[in-house]
Amino acid sequence: MFIQYFFASYMNCSGSISAAPESLHPSLWLASQLARSDTRCIDTGHPTLSAQLPGGGWPTGTLVDLLLQQPGIGEMRLLRPALAAVAHRRIVLLQPPHPPQALAMAALGVPPSQLIWVRATRTADALWAAEQVLRSGSCGALLFWQNNIRAENLRRLHLAAQAGETLFFMMRPLAAGQDASPAPLRLSLRPQAGGIEIGFVKRRGPQRDATLFLPLTSYLPNRHAPVDRTAPAPVAAGGVHTELVH
C-alpha cells in the first residue's frame, strides 16, 4: 500500500517518472502489474493460470494457501503438472482428509515410489512434522491439510518454507479465507462442470475479483456414451419410475 502511494505522489510531483519501478528494485512493482517472483517458480501447466500468477507459476519455498470448498473437487488434478515436475524428489502428503490411493496418484503422473503419507494424531505433531519436512528441504513438495491453524503457526511454517525450495501447499477450508495469512499467494477453489473455478484471494499484483475457470482433464472416459445418459437403473418391483428418466 505504501509503495503504491509513494509512486502515485512521486508521479504527481515530477509529472513524469524517469525509470519504471520494476527496473529500480526486483521487489518493486506498480499496483497494476504482477510482481516478479524472487524465488524459483514451477510452471502450473495451465497457461491461463500461469499468466495470472506472479512469477508465472507456483512459487517454491513459500507458503501457498489453497482454500477448498471440500476435498475432492479437482485440487490434485490442478496440481498435477507441478507435482509431476518435482516428482524426482519425495512428495509428502501430510494429514490428507482421506487415505490417498497410489494408483490414482500414478495416473496423475506421480510415481508411487515418491509418495509419503504422514498421519498425525495431534495438531502439534502435524505442525512439527511439516516443519521438519520443510527444514530438511529434501522433499519436492509438501501438501498439508489442516482445518484450523493459528496465525503464528502459519507464519512459522512460512518461515520454515523459506529455508528450502520445497513446493508447499496448505489445503484449508474456504472459511479460512476470512482470516489473515502470511501466504503471498492464496487461491480459492470451487468445483465447476468440467473443471475448477479459481478465485484470487491474495496475490502480489492487481486485485482480481473475477474468478478464473480452468478446464481439467476429466476422469470420464471418452470412449463411452455421453455423460448425460442415465445409468441403467435397477428394475424395482412396480416398473420403471418416471423420475429416473431424464
Binding site: P71, L103, A107, I116, C139, P234
Partner: protein
C-alpha cells in the same frame, strides 16, 4: 576435593570432617570410591577416543591424548579444546585441560592448576618457560624429599634443573630425573594406549529417580558420546542400538524398559541419534521412575564415509532424506509414516496398501503390481477408509445433493477367497459438479431397493 561453593566458604584440602562441618553445616561429604572413579575415567577415555586413537591413562586421575595428528581434522587446537570442554560438560565432569608438546609437560600443567583451562603451551619455548615456574612437589617422585628440597631452597622446576644431575640421581633416584627429562622433551615417552573394547555396552547410574524425558535424554547423551568415541576408534558405524531404562527394584522386580532404534543408514555421529532418542523418549510412557541407563550397540558394520560431490545436490542426499523420515517415524510412530505398495487386485481396498516407510521395497516389485496402463482404471485420489451408505431420495442416491451417474458402470466381482465383492462402480456428479465414486451392491439387495455407497472422491 571440594566444590567451588565449598572452596569459597573456606574449605581446603586436608581439612578434617569436623572442621568442614563447622564451616558448612549442610555440606555433603562423600567417601572416595576408587572403583567408580576408574569407571568414570574409562567413560571419559572412551568418549575422547573420537578425537584420537591414542588415549592413555596417567597417574592421579589424568588422561593423556596425543592429538598431533588430529589438529587439522578438528580445525586447530582451539577448536579441539572447545569441543573437549563441551564433551566434558555433557558427560557431567569438570576437568583441567592443558596442552603441551610433551605429554608429561601437559600433565604437569594440568596438575598445577585447578582451573578448567589449565594452560596451553603450543611451542616448546613457551612450555620451557612455564615449566620452569612450576613447583617441584607437583612431581610424584619428588614428594618424599619435600623437606630436603625446602631445606636447600629448591622450589621450582627451574631450580631443580640447575642442581647437578649425578647428585640428584644418587639422592632421589632415577624416576625423578626421567620424569623431568620427559617433561622437557629430552627423552622419548612411551605410553600404553587404551584399547577400545570389542563390544560396546555402557551403563550410567542416575543420581536420583528420574521420570522426566529431558533429564533422561541428558543421561542418554552422555552414553551416546561414549558410543561415538568407541565407533570412531574401531572405525565402525552403528545400525541398531538399544537404550535400557532400569527401574527401581521395589516390591516386584521390573524388567528394564527397552528403547530400540534401528537406522536405515548406519551412522557414527551422535546428532541424529540424539534427535531420534529425544522423540522416542518424549513419546514413551514410563511405568516407574528410572534409576539407571544402559546403552548397547547391537549391530555394527564397518564405517563407510559418504561420497562427497563437488557441487552439492539441492535438497541433500538420500541419506538426509532417510534421516528426516526416521525422525518423523520416531515421533509419529512407524505406522504413521507410510509409503505405497500397491497390490494387483481389482478390489480397491485391497489394492491400496500402504506400508511403513522403513520397510525396504524395491521399485521393481512395486511397478510389477501396477497395471500396465494406469490410466485405464478410473480411480479416485481419495479412497474413503470406510464406504458411506448413501441416503436414497426419489430412488436416487443422495449426498449433499442428488447424485447423477456420469459414467457407465465398472463391474467388480472378485475376492471369492476372502471378502467377496460384487459391486458396480459409477462416477457420480453432484449438483455442485463435484465428482464422487459410488458403488451399488449387487448381492444383498433387499426390498428397499439397491444399496448405494460412497467410496471415493476425485481430487
Amino acid at each position: 576435593m571440594a566444590s567451588q561453593a565449598a572452596q569459597d566458604a573456606g574449605v581446603r584440602t586436608g581439612m578434617r570432617r569436623g572442621g568442614v562441618l563447622m564451616l558448612l553445616p549442610d555440606a555433603r561429604i562423600h567417601e572416595r570410591a576408587p572403583a567408580l572413579e576408574a569407571d568414570a575415567r574409562q567413560a571419559v577415555a572412551l568418549a575422547l577416543l573420537q578425537y584420537t586413537p591414542q588415549v592413555a591413562e596417567g597417574e592421579e586421575s589424568t588422561l593423556l591424548m596425543d592429538v598431533g595428528a588430529s589438529l587439522r581434522l578438528f580445525g586447530g587446537i582451539r577448536a579441539l579444546c572447545r569441543r573437549i570442554h563441551a564433551n566434558m560438560r555433557a558427560l557431567g565432569f569438570t576437568a583441567s585441560l592443558a596442552c603441551a608438546p610433551t605429554a608429561r609437560g601437559a600433565w604437569l600443567l594440568a596438575r598445577s592448576s585447578s582451573r578448567v583451562r589449565a594452560g596451553r603451551a603450543v611451542r616448546m619455548e613457551a612450555l620451557l618457560r612455564r615449566l620452569d615456574r612450576l613447583a617441584v612437589l607437583l612431581m610424584p617422585p619428588a614428594r618424599p624429599y619435600a623437606a630436603w628440597f625446602e631445606g636447600i631452597g629448591c622450589y621450582t622446576l627451574g631450580d631443580l634443573r640447575r642442581l647437578p644431575r649425578p647428585g640428584l640421581q644418587r639422592r632421589c633416584g632415577r624416576g625423578l630425573l626421567d620424569l623431568l627429562d620427559a617433561a622437557y622433551g629430552l627423552v622419548p615417552e612411551l605410553y600404553e594406549w587404551i584399547a577400545p573394547p570389542e563390544t560396546f555396552r555402557a551403563r550410567l547410574e542416575l543420581y536420583d529417580r528420574i521420570d522426566d524425558a529431558d533429564l533422561l535424554l541428558a543421561g542418554a547423551q552422555c552414553l551416546l558420546l561414549q558410543l561415538t568415541g568407541w565407533l570412531c576408534a574401531r572405525q565402525l558405524a552403528v545400525e541398531r542400538i538399544t537404550l535400557q531404562l532400569e527401574h527401581e527394584r521395589g516390591r516386584v522386580a521390573r524388567p528394564p524398559t527397552n528403547v530400540e532404534i534401528v537406522l536405515a543408514e548406519p551412522t557414527w555421529r551422535d546428532e541424529h541419534l540424539v534427535r531420534l532418542l529425544k522423540e522416542r523418549l518424549g513419546r514413551l510412557t514410563l511405568e516407574a521412575p528410572v534409576i539407571g541407563l544402559a546403552l548397547e550397540a547391537l549391530q555394527v558394520r564397518p564405517m563407510a564415509p559418504p561420497n562427497a560431490s563437488l557441487f552439492p545436490e539441492p535438497g541433500g542426499s538420500e541419506d538426509d532424506r532417510m534421516r528426516m523420515l526416521e525422525l518423523l517415524a520416531a515421533r509419529l510412530g512407524a505406522d504413521n509414516v507410510l509409503q505405497p505398495l500397491p497390490l494387483a487386485d481389482y478390489r480397491p481396498e485391497q489394492a491400496n496398501v500402504w506400508v511403513p516407510v522403513q520397510q525396504k521395497v524395491s521399485d521393481k516389485a512395486r511397478n510389477a503390481q501396477l497395471p500396465p496402463d494406469v490410466l485405464s482404471l478410473p480411480r479416485p485420489t481419495w479412497l474413503l477408509a470406510r464406504p458411506i451408505a448413501l441416503l436414497m431420495r426419489d430412488h436416487r442416491p443422495f449426498y449433499g445433493s442428488p447424485l447423477r451417474m456420469a459414467s457407465n458402470p465398472e463391474r467388480l466381482e472378485a475376492g471369492w477367497w476372502d471378502g467377496p465383492e460384487t459391486r458396480d462402480y459409477f462416477i457420480a456428479e453432484g449438483l455442485d459438479h463435484t465428482l464422487y465414486w459410488v458403488y451399488r451392491e449387487r448381492i444383498g439387495t433387499d426390498d428397499n431397493g439397491p444399496k448405494w455407497y460412497l467410496h471415493g472422491l476425485f481430487g
